[in-house]
Amino acid sequence: MFDIIIIGAGIVGCNLAYQLSLTNLKVLVLEKNAEILNEVSSANSGIIHTGYDPKDDTLKALLNVKGAALTKELCEYFQVPFLQCGSMVVAHDDKEIDMLKALQIKAAQRKIPCELLSQEILRQKEPHIADSVIKALFFPTTGVIIPWELGYALMDNACFNGVTLKNSEAVIAVEKKSSYIVKTPKSSYEAKMVINCTGLYGDKVARLAQADYPINLIYKKGEYQVTDKTDASYLNHILFPLPTEKGKGVLAVKTVEGNLLFGPNSNIVEDPTHQDTTSIGLAEVNSRIHEIIKPLPQNRMIRQFAGIRPGSPTKDFIIENHEKWVNVIGIDSPGLASSPAIAQYVIEQFVQPEFHPETLNRELYIHPKPLLLMSLDERNALIKTNPNYGKIVCLCEDVSTQEVINAIHSPCSTRSIKGIKRRVRPGSGRCQGGFCESKIVDILSKELNIPKQQVLYDNDNTSFLTPMEDLYETK
């Protein structure tokens, strides 16, 4: 019997698991995918918004401002990158300048630092901003994180502190007795309280516990372009158009790793399972990005992806408790920036009154720093302890064999090519795995002690190799 079952290991689930792991509660996390942070939490802009955008008196406004501050603290604590590069919201005409001024007033009320920049200053700060931009509102505290890196740090620490994580276990039924029985195809688990933070499936999972649950999520798909790191110096800040009803618009951001990310567009879709890109959508991103940034001298796109965001009909986060079943629903933008505050809110509002948990002192688990960020001396010291630190498996991103091995054996283990790609980056560079993918297969097969034909690309149905000997009958 668990005290709490968290369903869904997205960024909200990871924050909840971590915060609850600092108490004496017995916690189980159920994740339907082979890898945590596999959907909404990995396909987004990675921006820690300051909180100027949400409407007054909403949960979004409250939790975004709080969450942004907490995110920065968490990144420092876990030693994962938080790049406070600042953002600019740009205006193209007088009407848009008036909107910038309104935004400036709202930001001031929320004590978010910002400054209106003249043509001259904004071009000094951002030389490649589009010619049509005439003014910008500058938010120096906006930052960018690697969304899954913070998520993995949270879940690694949660597991390190004793939280149980079960991957590849989708919840298919819930029974309510004096407690909840949560069923997956493999097993069933009992807990006093359940927290449903299942992102795109939040409404459906809620209906497993409450058949007449009335909310239906609205799915908004956004498509992105990713450039080669060679273009890193092309952009200094995050550039936004003015926010509209559809969202924050097609923006330009430099990732922590140095790729430029252009997108997202925003289209309502019926099916949350297909995170596919489209010709029309990519064309829209390719053209709208030039409203804020000049075209790159060379087209060096290395990847396109789409993310689907679960919007609620109320346009606000929905966080509610019904007989110890907590729904955390409609966590679209600024969900990433708000996530630590969402977890805190859930715990303060619903967990503490129910369990009055004790706070425990926990040791910190720090995932080894990437070699890329080390000095040659530091790297040499590591190679002396283990030659695999000297053996580079991914040239594009400068990743050693040992870093891949470490990721596989971290507290919340990683067992797919995509998981390894997120955790230590092989495959996210310009060759997109052309040189390293087969080496990652080798390492996964060896470390997990499974044949190569069982190595997963992504989810459980994604092993992809057939041994040649299976193709020929031997006599």
Binding site: R303, N380, Q432, T466
Partner: protein, 413 residues
């Protein structure tokens, strides 16, 4: 800091040929760095035959061709390190390398760039659709099959008629996979004619010219693709959409010279070849840094790669003898040419091998060497194809007449 007279980056066909020729010419202090755990480069995974026809008048397989060079390399006892990845090259020729024994810097007098190329990916050409497993570059699928012994799929569609794609169409058919078709966005194929015949026709694999994949669908694994005909601007005509049920898409849509390290050494690149700008000695814009093989420009035959490595070895000898900077004369391409290499020549050279690629198939054409608005040479050419690299030797007689910018022009009259 460690020091070496010549550091060769890459132990594939270019690097090996260069190292061997250097040693044969008497250079002792050579270090070859190879990032994989064996020498030979991409040849190791090319188990088909057809290598060495020009150099040796023999039809070697890739591994045999590589082994031929590796044997000679070993015989000459040239120092090399495997599992050694070069992380950085500085403008003043300091090479930083990571290998199982440590990470360290080496000061080189001369660096040979021989890193080869990488394949263009789905992201480069922006094929929309699901992010499912089942999309690989042809070379990656080749590595899984020929090096590791694993097949990546059973029903396969290949985009791009580049040679690796064609070779893989045959190889996969022999490995009992069904190759449903090959599509090429251009109105002509991009592979060698012999490969179209031997790899597609002989296996009844249809080739769809002026077609491209506009969508990949699949939940977890690739389930199908949409193929569209393209118009004269290479834009898909969606009303022509056809669907194919396949579990795998292989991409053979071109190679890109791998010049990430060259850029770190501030070597200037040509936007057309995507390789370094070089003079007739194949020296880059950074004195003492040379380039050969696919890192310089994409070759269709390994024989030419080896010859380029040998040419660089001769150039290095000359460089050691005389490091005075030369007045180089720029070479520009005009007309139906994609590029001309080298991009500048030293008129004092005895002979200069011009290499070029045409921009469209032509049954006949005329190549002109022009200097000061004067046509120095007009050469008739037949059966020109973008997939086949052409070359022409500028002799001393012509070179003596060159005193300012050279234009190499290909026209149809």
């Amino acid at each position: 800091m460690k020091q070496n007279k010549v550091i060769i980056i890459g132990g594939g066909s270019a690097g090996l040929a260069c190292a061997i020729a250097l040693r044969e010419k008497g250079i002792q202090d050579i270090l070859l760095l190879e990032k994989e755990n064996e020498l030979g480069g991409i040849l190791n995974q090319c188990i088909h035959n057809g290598f060495g026809l020009h150099m040796y008048k023999k039809e070697y397989t890739g591994p045999m061709y590589a082994q031929h060079h590796i044997d000679r390399f070993m015989e000459l006892q040239i120092p090399y390190i495997i599992d050694a990845t070069v992380l950085d090259i500085s403008e003043d020729k300091i090479v930083t390398v990571s290998e199982p024994k440590g990470i360290y810097s080496i000061q080189a007098e001369v660096i040979v760039l021989a890193m080869g190329a990488r394949e263009r990916t789905r992201g480069n050409i922006q094929i929309p659709g699901d992010r499912c497993v089942g999309v690989w570059t042809a070379g990656n699928a080749q590595k899984y099959l020929n090096m590791d012994g694993y097949l990546v799929g059973k029903r396969i569609f290949i985009l791009g008629s580049g040679d690796i794609g064609l070779i893989m169409a045959r190889r996969l058919s022999l490995a009992k996979a069904k190759v449903v078709g090959v599509a090429e966005i251009m109105p002509y194929s991009n592979g060698l004619t012999r490969n179209i015949v031997q790899c597609l026709h002989d296996f009844d694999i249809p080739l769809y010219l002026s077609h491209t994949i506009t969508q990949i669908k699949g939940d977890g694994r690739v389930e199908g693709i949409t193929l569209c005909q393209v118009d004269e601007n290479r834009q898909p005509m969606f009303e022509t959409a056809k669907h194919f049920g396949v579990d795998t898409v292989l991409l053979s849509v071109g190679l890109i010279p791998d010049n990430v390290l060259s850029e770190k050494a501030k070597v200037s690149l040509d936007l057309k070849t995507k390789g370094p700008l070089v003079d007739s000695e194949l020296m880059t814009s950074t004195p003492g840094i040379f380039a050969c093989g696919n890192v310089l420009h994409i070759h269709d035959l390994v024989d030419h790669v080896s010859m380029e490595g040998i040419l660089v070895a001769s150039s290095i000898i000359k460089y050691f003898e005389d490091q005075d900077s030369l007045d180089l004369i720029p070479v520009k391409s005009k007309g139906f040419l994609n590029y001309v290499l080298p991009q500048s020549i030293n008129p004092k050279s005895d002979t200069v091998l011009l290499k070029y690629r045409v921009s469209k198939p032509m049954t006949k054409g005329f190549l002109r060497i022009i200097c000061n608005d004067q046509v120095l040479l007009k050469i008739p050419k037949v059966d020109l194809h973008p997939s086949e690299m052409q070359s022409f030797n500028l002799t001393k007689v012509i070179l003596d007449k060159i005193n300012s910018n050279v234009i190499v022009e290909l026209s149809d009259e």
